[in-house]
Structures are given as structure tokens and as C-alpha cells.
Amino acid sequence: MTSIILLSVFGIINLFVGFLKSNRILLPLALLFLAVVFGANLFNWNDTQSYFNNMLTIDNYAVAFTGIMVLSTLLLIPFSQRYIDTKDENLAEYYSLLLFSLVGAVMMVSYENLIMLFVGIEILSISMYVLAGSDKKSLRSNEAALKYFLMGSFFTGVLLFGMVMIYGATGSFNITEIGAAQVSADGVTNTMFVLGLLVTIIGISFKISAAPFHFWTPDVYQGTPTLFTSYMSTIVKTAGVAAFYKLMASAFAASYTTWFPTLIAITVLTLVVGNIGAVVQKNVKRMLAYSSISHAGYLLMSLIAFNERSDSSIFFYSLAYSTATIAAFGVLKLVADQRKDETFEAFNGLGRTNPLLAFAMTVSMMSLAGIPLTAGFFAKFFVFASVLEDANLMWLVVIAVLLAAVGIYYYFKVVIAMYMRPAENQEKVGVNSFTSFTLIFITILTILLGIVPALVSDIL
């Protein structure tokens, strides 16, 4: 709760600081605010509290995922340096919208009531619609905003319809009460319950861009300014998956057999579409968009496992995925801003001109691909291990491992371009020291978690 209050207040303060003529103070201020929120959030550890008549519960699960999301934002906003240099006049609003949308994300991981889930999703999404279209003169950004907005509000309607059906069948919005409600096995009530369950799954699958509801992802990710793309693919996905797991674990644990086949189909389709789709891309940003679809598939696998290790494997996977993705999008943003090119060719010879950027990109690509000694390896390992507790799901793990091997191919296309391809009169990419420091920090974090995953893997 402290994090929600602090984020709201800091967002408003940030908005007013925007009236000052100087843009320089905004980035340090936003970093300071996020650091304060990160610290304040940790104080709620092992101190479970409920608010608003049990509509929000801040427990360890909420604190852990809030931690990931605030940390991700903290690591991501240093890459906004160029907006400061170009004197973008709406900078204060961007930071404020990021802070406000974090409020929604925190609500999504701490809700105890479907109303709060809905409000959280909407706070997050509405901020993202604005940020997707923040490059007002660019038609690509316009198109991304329109697609994201129309599809997002459409699937919000679908999600609401599901929630109402569940309310009709169980008579409550509280997820614990829904879990305890007895639904008769036949008749209208049962039809409503099953329909509501499936439609809710569809609604949330859209938010985490799981196939077959992923069609918006490549277009929206490509058109959105890169900084906000990285926000979408880390914070929105983490919050979505955490909310999804919480919903399933609290409200629908008893109807496991009903949603299990649907979720398996969604997961397999997501893994296949994400990994195969990424192979054929020429644009790195689009490739990362498909890669984020495939990672949604791996995250859903631990939801399918649905045992006591699911929450910690989702936690570790989100952390590993977020850090690696932020570094990847950060380097992409720096390179693409300088070279005006987002294809694989833009990375040619980066290993010679900018060894640091190339190294950070390599580590993040290795982590996303799941190579040992990076966080991504243990993330995949924990997910597969939790799925394998049910021996009947061996085939799912086999498919996932094969597709992870496909993943190595497209991630290493970037690495090969950086180190093997000659730089044709490519200039050095200018990076300021603070951004370099952030990249070094993310790289160290990724490698550290790859060597001693026990630091955070068992906290839930």
C-alpha cells in the first residue's frame, strides 16, 4: 500500500516539476522517487496487510513482484537520456505516466477482488496507450497507439464479460470467495462459470500477448518509441503473468481440470508462434517482440505446472527476463537512435566500435536464449523443473527445449552481426557514462543471478 501511495504522490510531484524550465532535474528526481518506492516496498516483507475491505492484500507475493517492476523501471529510465538532450517538452508527463502506470501494475499483483484487478489493468493500459502514441508526428507511433488502444479496449470488454459471468455463477468478486464457492455441476450457473473462466483467460492472455491473441504485439512494439516498448515487454508482462497466476491459484484452483486443456493449447501455440515468428524477422525490435511472445509461453508453462514451485519460478523468470530485455532494448535504442536503423545490419561491427554495448547486448541475448552462466538459464531450468513434477507433461518440456534451441539461432544473429560482420564506415555510438553504468549494472546482475540463483530463487 505504501508503494501505491508513494507512486501516486511522486507521479503528481513529477508532473508539477515539469512546469520548471529545466528538464535536467526530471531524470534524477524520477530515479530518486523509484529508489524510495523500492525501499519502502521492501519494508512490507513478511508483513501481510489487507486494505479497502479486503480488496487489496500486500503479501510477500505482491512485494516480490512490485520489487521486480520498480527495479525494472529504475533500470529502464536512464535510457531516456536522449529525450532530455533533445529538450522534449513532454518529458515530465512521460515520467509521470510511467509512475502512474506502475500504480496499476502494483494493484494487479496485490488485488484480492476482481474489481481491483480490472482497475489495475486499466490504469496500466490507459497509460500505455498514451505512451505508445507519444511520438505524435510519427505515423508508426500513431498506428501503434491506435492498434493497441482499439485491441486493448476490445479485450478489456472481453475480460469484463468473463468477470461478470463468474460473478453471476459465484455471487462474489473476491477471489478467495470465488475459490470457495460451490458451483453446481450442471445448468445455467455452470455454463456461466465455464464461459466466464474461459473468457477471462482470453482477456488476460491478450494482456500478456499469448498466442492466438498476440497479433497486436509485433506491430505495437515496433511502432512504440523503444523506451516504452521495453516498459511494455517487461512491466506489463510481469504484472500480467503475476495477476494471472494469482487469479488461477486463488479463484480457480478447484476448476483446474476445466482450464488446464485451454491453457496447454495457448502455451504450446505461444511457444511455437513466438519462436518461429522471430526467426524470419529482419527488424531487431520486431524480433524482440516475437521473443517476448515466446517468453510469455515459458512463463505460462510454470502456470501449467501449478504446484508450490510455480510462484517462485514465475518470480525468477520475470526477473531474469526483465533485466535481459531492458538491456537488449536499451542497446537497441542507443544504436537505432544513432544509426537510424533497427535491422540486424545496424549492429554490424558494434563489437569493434563499442565493446561495452556489444558485451552487454551479448550477455542479454545469452540470457534470453538461456545459455548457462546467465540468469536466463536458471529461469528456464526452474520452469522446466516445476513442470516436470508432473511426469505426464514431459512432452511439453521437450517441445519447449526444442523451441529454446530455435531461440538461440535468432538471438545469436545479433551477436554474429556485432562481432563477425565488418563495420562499413560505422561510427562509434555515443553513450554517456550514466547509461553505461546502468548497462554494466544490468550485465553484472544477469551474470550474478546466473552463477548464484539461490540469492532470490527461494524467497517466495
Partner: protein, 110 residues
């Protein structure tokens, strides 16, 4: 007078509300999938949200439970916020391409 409203709602069987709301919702879905004008698509989304509101009110009256009606207020507030952002996005696009036809926007392809 106010206490009678739930009773008036209850004079119609619950199934009828269910079918009616579902029909409205499906009309909205079909509209979103077939229309090309961004504003008409947006109106269809609003129709979907309002069919949900109607169903919530009916269910809440049948169960004598205020939670459903409280949710209606949340949905209305959120829908209003969504209208602000959505119309702003549509206006922004209209300024750039002088049209609100969603099929004219196809710059993002691989």
C-alpha cells in the same frame, strides 16, 4: 420507491437479461471485427462495456448484492477515462492522415 427497483427488475426472468446482454455483447464484437472506421469500432467497444453493465445490474438485483452495482460505477469511470485517451489518439491520427479509416494505417509490416 427506491426499494422497489430490484423487484421491478426481478419481474423479468434472469435468463432474459443474460441472453439480451450476450446478444448486445456479440453485436459489439462483430462491429469491432467488421467495421473500418476507428470511431465506429470504438462505439462498438462501448456497446460491449454497456452490455456488461446491464448484466451486472441485473445480476446484482437478483442476488440483492450491491457489489455488482459498485462495479458498474468503476466500469463507467474507467470507460470515461478510456474515451478521453481514445478520442485523443483518434484526433492525433486524423491530424496526420486526414482520415479515421483503420485500414489506411498499415506502415508496420515485416
Amino acid at each position: 420507491m427506491m426499494n422497489q427497483i430490484p423487484e421491478v427488475i426481478r419481474t423479468v426472468p434472469l435468463e432474459y437479461y443474460l441472453y439480451f446482454s450476450t446478444a448486445l455483447f456479440v453485436i459489439g464484437v462483430i462491429g469491432v471485427l467488421t467495421r473500418r472506421n476507428a470511431i465506429v469500432i470504438f462505439m462498438c467497444v462501448e456497446l460491449m462495456l454497456n452490455s456488461v453493465n446491464l448484466l451486472l445490474t441485473a445480476l446484482s438485483a437478483y442476488r440483492s448484492d450491491p457489489n455488482g452495482q459498485v462495479f458498474v460505477f468503476f466500469i463507467m469511470a474507467v470507460a470515461a477515462a478510456e474515451v478521453c485517451v481514445g478520442l485523443a489518439i483518434i484526433v492525433m491520427i486524423y491530424r496526420n492522415i486526414r482520415s479515421t479509416d483503420v485500414q489506411l494505417l498499415n506502415y508496420l509490416k515485416w
